[in-house]
C-alpha cells in the first residue's frame, strides 16, 4: 500500500508520510511497547497516535480493517487466537515453544486476513506461574519441577480456559506432575487473582514473565524449567494495506533486534513499580539504546 500511503502523505499537512495508529492492549507492557513503536514510526516521518483497546477481541478486527495499523503482539498467543478464529474453539494447537515454527504458523494464519507479521526478536513475555514467597520458602520451590516434587495440592488462580490449554492445567499435570485440584477463574494475572493467592485462597497464579507487580503481592515466579510455555516472542503485526511500508518495517526491525526480555521486565518495572508514565519510559528507553532521533 505504499502508493496509497504516498497519496495519503501528499494530502497530509506538514509533509508527513501519513497517519499511523498504533494499537495497544490494556496492560502495561503493551502500552509501553506501543509508545515505543509510536516514537520510532513518528521518527520515521509518520504522524502517529496510540489507541488502547482492552483486548485482542477488540483490536484485532480493528487491525484487519485498518482502523489500527500497528500492534505489538506475541507470537504464540496471536497464533492461537487466529487459529481459534479460523477453526473454531479448541482447535489443534499451532503454537509451540519453537519460535520459528510458531511464526510460520502465525504468518500462514495472518496473511489471508491482510495482516503482515514482522520478524520476531529475542524478547519474550510468556505465561508463567507464581506462588507466595512464604510458600516457595516453606517448600523450597524455585521451579515448577520443585513444585511437582513437593506433591502439594495446588488451587490455581487463572482463566477458565486454563482447564483445556496444553500449557496450563493439562501441561502442569502431565509435564510437571503438579496436583492441580481446581481452577479459580479470577483471570490471568488480575489483581484479584494475585490477591487470592496472597490470601491463601489459591496457591498459585497464572501470570506473565514480565509482571512487575508481583512484589506488591509478595509473589515469586517459578521457573518453567521444562519449557512448557509457548514461544511468546514480541513481534509487530501491521495491517498490510495501510502500514506495510518498508520504512515502517525497517524502523520496527531495528527495535526488535535490540529489545530483550530483560528490557521488557525493566520497562514494566519502571511503569508498575516506579510509576513512571509509559511515554516517558518509552522515550528514555529509546534514547538509552540510541534509537531515538534527536
Amino acid at each position: 500500500g505504499g502508493k496509497s500511503l504516498e497519496e495519503k502523505g501528499g494530502a497530509a499537512s506538514g509533509g508527513g508520510k501519513g497517519d499511523i495508529v498504533i494499537g495497544s492492549a490494556g496492560f502495561t507492557e503493551s502500552k509501553v511497547l506501543a509508545e515505543i513503536y509510536s516514537k520510532i514510526i513518528s521518527d520515521a516521518g509518520y504522524r502517529t497516535t496510540v489507541k488502547t483497546l482492552a483486548n485482542r477481541e477488540l483490536y484485532e478486527p480493528a487491525l484487519e480493517k485498518g482502523q489500527i495499523d500497528v500492534v505489538p503482539e506475541y507470537a504464540s498467543t496471536l497464533a492461537e487466537f487466529l487459529n481459534a478464529k479460523k477453526n473454531g474453539p479448541n482447535p489443534k494447537p499451532v503454537a509451540s515453544s519453537d519460535i520459528g515454527k510458531t511464526v510460520t504458523a502465525l504468518k500462514a494464519l495472518a496473511e489471508p486476513r491482510g495482516l503482515k507479521v514482522l520478524p520476531a526478536g529475542e524478547a519474550t513475555d510468556q505465561n508463567a506461574f507464581a506462588v507466595t514467597k512464604e510458600f516457595a520458602a516453606r517448600h523450597h520451590l524455585k521451579t515448577l519441577s520443585d513444585l511437582g516434587r513437593s506433591k502439594e495440592k495446588i488451587k490455581l488462580a487463572a482463566g477458565e480456559e486454563c482447564e483445556t490449554r496444553p500449557f496450563c492445567k493439562p501441561g502442569l499435570e502431565k509435564v510437571y506432575g503438579i496436583a492441580v485440584t481446581g481452577i479459580d477463574p479470577k483471570g490471568v494475572g488480575t489483581p484479584q487473582a494475585k490477591q487470592a493467592v496472597k490470601d491463601g485462597t489459591d496457591q498459585m497464579v497464572l501470570t506473565t514473565t514480565t509482571d512487575a507487580t508481583l512484589d506488591n503481592f509478595g509473589l515469586v515466579l517459578l521457573k518453567d524449567d521444562k519449557k512448557l510455555q509457548n514461544a511468546d516472542n514480541v513481534l509487530p503485526v501491521v495491517n498490510a494495506g495501510s502500514a506495510g511500508d518498508k520504512e515502517i518495517e525497517a524502523a520496527l526491525g531495528k527495535l526488535t533486534d535490540k529489545l530483550t526480555t530483560a528490557d521488557l521486565i525493566e520497562l514494566n518495572r519502571k511503569v508498575d513499580a516506579e510509576r513512571q508514565k509509559p511515554e516517558d519510559v518509552a522515550r528514555a528507553y529509546l534514547e538509552s539504546k540510541g534509537l531515538a532521533k534527536k
Partner: protein
C-alpha cells in the same frame, strides 16, 4: 524524596500522583464529562419517543420495554465489539453503547411519570383544546418531571459510572485510568480516578436536583413563600432595630 516514595510505595492516596498526572487527570475528566453528557442527552432524546410509543399503543409497551431490557443485558465487551466495526475505534462507540444502556431506566421512568399525571388535570387540558403535543409538553411533561428527573438522575449517575467501561476501546475518560491502574495495581491512580468519578456523579446529581427545582417551582410555592416571609420579617426587624437605634 518522600513524594517519590508515595508513588513507589503504592499508597492509596498520593499527592505526587495528582501532581505529575494533573494533565492526564484533567483530560480524562473532560473526556468523561463529554461522553457522559452526550450519552445522557441522546439517551433522553431516544427514550422519550420510545416511552411515548409505549404509552400510546399498549401493545408496543411490552416490546419496547423488552428491547431496552435486552440491550441492557448485552455485555459491554460484546456491545463494543459489535459497535467498533460500525463506528471505528472512536468515542461514538462508547456513546452509542451508553445510550443503549441508559434506555432501560429512562424509558421506564418517563412512562411512569406520564402515567402519574392526575386525571382531572389531563381532562381539563384536553377539554380546553390542548392537542396531543401541547398536552404532552405543556401539561403532562411538567407534571411528570419529578418521576422523569428521578429516572434521569439514576441514568446520569449510572452513565458516569458506565462511561468507565469505555476504557475497553480507550474512550473511557476516568475509566482509562481506573482500568490501567487496576491492571498495574496502581492504587493511587485507581482511587483518584474513582473519587473523581464519584465527585462527577455527585455534582451531576446535584445539578439535576437544581434543574428540577428550577423547573418545578410549584412544588415549592409554600416553602418559597415561607422563606420570603422570613426574609421580609428579618428585613422588617432590621429596620425596626435601626429605628430604635
Amino acid at each position: 524524596m518522600s513524594a517519590r516514595s508515595c508513588l513507589e510505595a503504592n499508597d492509596w492516596i498520593c499527592g505526587e500522583y495528582v501532581r505529575t498526572r494533573g494533565q492526564e487527570l484533567l483530560d480524562a475528566t473532560v473526556q468523561h464529562v463529554g461522553i457522559t453528557l452526550v450519552s445522557v442527552v441522546i439517551g433522553l432524546l431516544i427514550a422519550f419517543p420510545l416511552a411515548l410509543v409505549a404509552r400510546r399503543w399498549r401493545a408496543a409497551a411490552g416490546p419496547v420495554l423488552g428491547l431496552t431490557t435486552i440491550l441492557y443485558t448485552v455485555p459491554s465487551l460484546a456491545m463494543f465489539a459489535l459497535l467498533t466495526p460500525v463506528f471505528g475505534v472512536s468515542a461514538a462507540v462508547v456513546v452509542t453503547g451508553l445510550v443503549l444502556y441508559s434506555l432501560t431506566v429512562l424509558v421506564r421512568n418517563i412512562l411512569a411519570g406520564l402515567e402519574s399525571v392526575p386525571r382531572e388535570v389531563r381532562e381539563a387540558a384536553r377539554g380546553m383544546g390542548y392537542g396531543p403535543v401541547k398536552l404532552l409538553f405543556g401539561v403532562e411533561l411538567p407534571l411528570a418531571l419529578p418521576a422523569l428527573t428521578a429516572g434521569l438522575r439514576i441514568a446520569t449517575v449510572s452513565t458516569v459510572a458506565m462511561t468507565t467501561i469505555g476504557a475497553v476501546v480507550g474512550y473511557g475518560g476516568l475509566g482509562n485510568l481506573i482500568s490501567s491502574g487496576m491492571e498495574g495495581f496502581f492504587k493511587a491512580e485507581v482511587l483518584t480516578a474513582s473519587v473523581l468519578c464519584v465527585l462527577l456523579a455527585v455534582v451531576a446529581d446535584v445539578l439535576l436536583i437544581g434543574l428540577q427545582r428550577l423547573l418545578t417551582p410549584w412544588t415549592r410555592a409554600q416553602a418559597r413563600a415561607r422563606s420570603r416571609a422570613r426574609r421580609e420579617r428579618r428585613a422588617a426587624g432590621r429596620t425596626a432595630k435601626k429605628a430604635v437605634a
